[in-house]
Symmetry: C2
Subunit: 385 residues, 2 copies
């Protein structure tokens, strides 16, 4: 299997892009990534996206985006795994380069959520859950997370305040990210008095819907130095799955696919979790941040929030998370999020994270969650030094 | 790059499956393929599907189908490339095995079209075309094909009867395929007097919408003999793309992506088109059959219909096509069609095509078209003898 590196990255700001359509956003990110890599050659394009059909009436966006980005004719395809579409697309890119069929591969995650003419967004997002056994009962995606959070708080005797620092930390970091949707720090008090969305999930537990695109160019490591002297090595790439319906799992409070994909990734990278310098996790809801930390091996079951309470997750803590704002403050354009995480990890490892730069960023991990944990993609990256 | 073989195949009948949902159909085909291969081990699942979100309110069907098929936890993802989703998923499976990340891979193409509660099917199918520059004008997918056919007939001085044999041949072959949706032969007269759908496309030019699923299990050729003595070798696997909007192409009457992917495939397989014993092409409309034959190198521009008129495309002709009924008579469950073509090619190469068995089936090609030619996947297969 060939070693693989990221040679270029690009992203659009996350937000409400009323003047840019799906194809424009994807183009913007791809153009920046290709320019960053200094390449006009791309052998194949993988597009991570969830909702183009539902929201934009547009399927078949692989060739659409390839053509619009000036790459007409290349192999191009859409990969869909709900909110994990970004990591799933990156994973297919890695597999493509590893196979030898493709050398220079572009991956873009893109989502256009705000231009929701048919008012299909809530239903579209709920399609990440089991339509026949969950959604049919009227449950939305927020409600599903609320049920999990409620049970978690009950089971482990936690209160709302235990989750506050996930949100406070994300907003503090987002304030310094020029591409973040929300660039204001919040206090614990703001978190505590926020309006309830679906009890116990309140406004600052939940990440915002948004438009955006993020892209990376990858190639075999032995070719990478022809393009750049700041290549980021892909040390591990793993996807695992679980039942779509939460009630079908042995334990609804354990992300088995996070444990499985993280442990596969640790084996591939030949590292232990303790060696990681930071962790870009999937804080779509504060409860998911806690569950992700636990399943990836950073805390025991029911103790994920302690890392937040203790400040371990801050930029100067033991395990910085959401270093550029996370889903909570950077924003969560669902099918693009996994690629934002990867681009942000690359920024840290290239020493280009601005005011949020970690002093010793050598090993970083990203974890992208689809649905309530049915698809989880974990990647580990290493700086070139 | 590792050599790859198909070790198991399975399919459901194509038709209106009111008693089986998306997940059931996928399960049925996967179960048959795994049984055929004699394996319960599957490392990864690739699902080809176009419309699960729009029609069934269900995204995220990779893990859903993996779980339902008894494969909870494995890497699983959905691949979407409109009507070429089947070939695109198979292509990702081939890349997955070639990469060394995965050994035993399952690919299933599945589509559930008839249970269209929200009446979104026509709009859903049109989303294969360019939403901002084609569909916005009210054009349906049939209308787009009608425009192409009209122009083709005008340009090359052809009449409706020149296309008849594509349909007559498909229906004759479908009559002997127990999995075909339409199992009645038709006459040229029936074709000629059929009602117009969108002039000049009439009922027997157009393939029917349907439900169905088809699956294959693939693995490295060196492992194949552990599973079966009738492995089918994957000699070539190629995808090429073109602009989504037909008006953006230099020549709207030439399938550039078919030429590109076919020629890539010929190079990989080290064969010339003349060596092929049969060709499972994408006769979603009779015009697409003609264009596919031309772009793949079997006829000059404007002369594709001659192969039909001359009878060359029949089972005893020079280049049999649609040997099990094609999209026209077997039916066209859009995201599943590419996998039906591959399963049918495997049946011919294994000598299991029943009454439609070709006497000397050694080399076969499949070509799956997405949209009006924006994604085209071409695969070449060889029998084990």
């Amino acid at each position: 299997m060939r070693d693989i590196s990221i040679i270029g990255i690009g992203q659009t700001p996350v937000g409400e892009h009323w003047g840019r359509s799906l194809r424009h956003l994807a183009y913007d990110a791809l153009h920046l990534a290709m320019k960053d890599a200094g390449t006009e050659r791309v052998d194949a394009l993988y597009v991570g996206n969830m909702l183009s059909g539902e929201i934009s009436g547009q399927a078949h966006i692989g060739p659409l985006i390839a053509d619009f980005a000036g790459l007409r004719g290349i192999e191009a395809v859409k990969i869909e795994a709900a909110c994990a579409s970004g990591a799933a697309a990156f994973r297919q890119g890695v597999i493509g380069v590893a196979s030898g069929y493709q050398d220079v591969v572009a991956v873009v995650g893109v989502e256009k959520m705000t231009d929701d003419v048919g008012s299909r967004l809530t239903a579209g997002l709920a399609s990440a859950a089991d339509a026949d056994y969950e959604t049919v009962h009227g449950v939305t995606f927020v409600a599903l997370n609320a049920l999990i959070m409620q049970r978690y708080m009950h089971e482990y005797g936690l209160s709302k305040g235990d989750f506050a620092n996930f949100s406070v930390n994300a907003h503090a970091n987002g304030a310094n990210n020029p591409n973040a949707m929300f660039r204001r720090a919040i206090s614990k008090e703001t978190f505590m008095r926020a309006g309830v969305v679906a009890n116990p999930v309140s406004l600052f537990d939940a990440s915002p819907m948004a438009d955006g695109a993020a892209a990376a160019i990858i190639c075999p490591t032995r070719l990478a130095r022809e393009y750049t002297d700041k290549a980021v090595h892909v040390l591990a790439s793993a996807i695992a799955t679980d039942s779509l319906a939460v009630h079908d799992r042995k334990n609804p409070l354990w992300l088995q696919a996070a444990e499985d994909s993280a442990h596969t990734a640790y084996r591939q990278a030949k590292i232990t979790p303790a060696e990681l310098d930071f962790f870009e996790l999937h804080d779509a809801f504060t409860i998911m941040a806690a569950l992700s930390l636990e399943a990836a091996g950073f805390a025991k079951a029911g103790q994920g929030t302690r890392l937040a309470v203790n400040g371990d997750i801050a930029l100067d803590g033991k395990l910085p998370i959401a270093t550029m704002g996370g889903l909570k403050a950077r924003g969560h354009p669902v099918g693009a999020t996994g690629m934002y995480q990867i681009v942000e990890a690359a920024l840290q490892l290239r020493g280009e994270a601005g005011k949020n730069q970690l002093p010793h960023a050598r090993l970083g991990m990203t974890q992208n969650i689809g649905g309530s944990g049915a698809t989880i993609g974990t990647h580990i990256f290493k700086s070139s030094e």
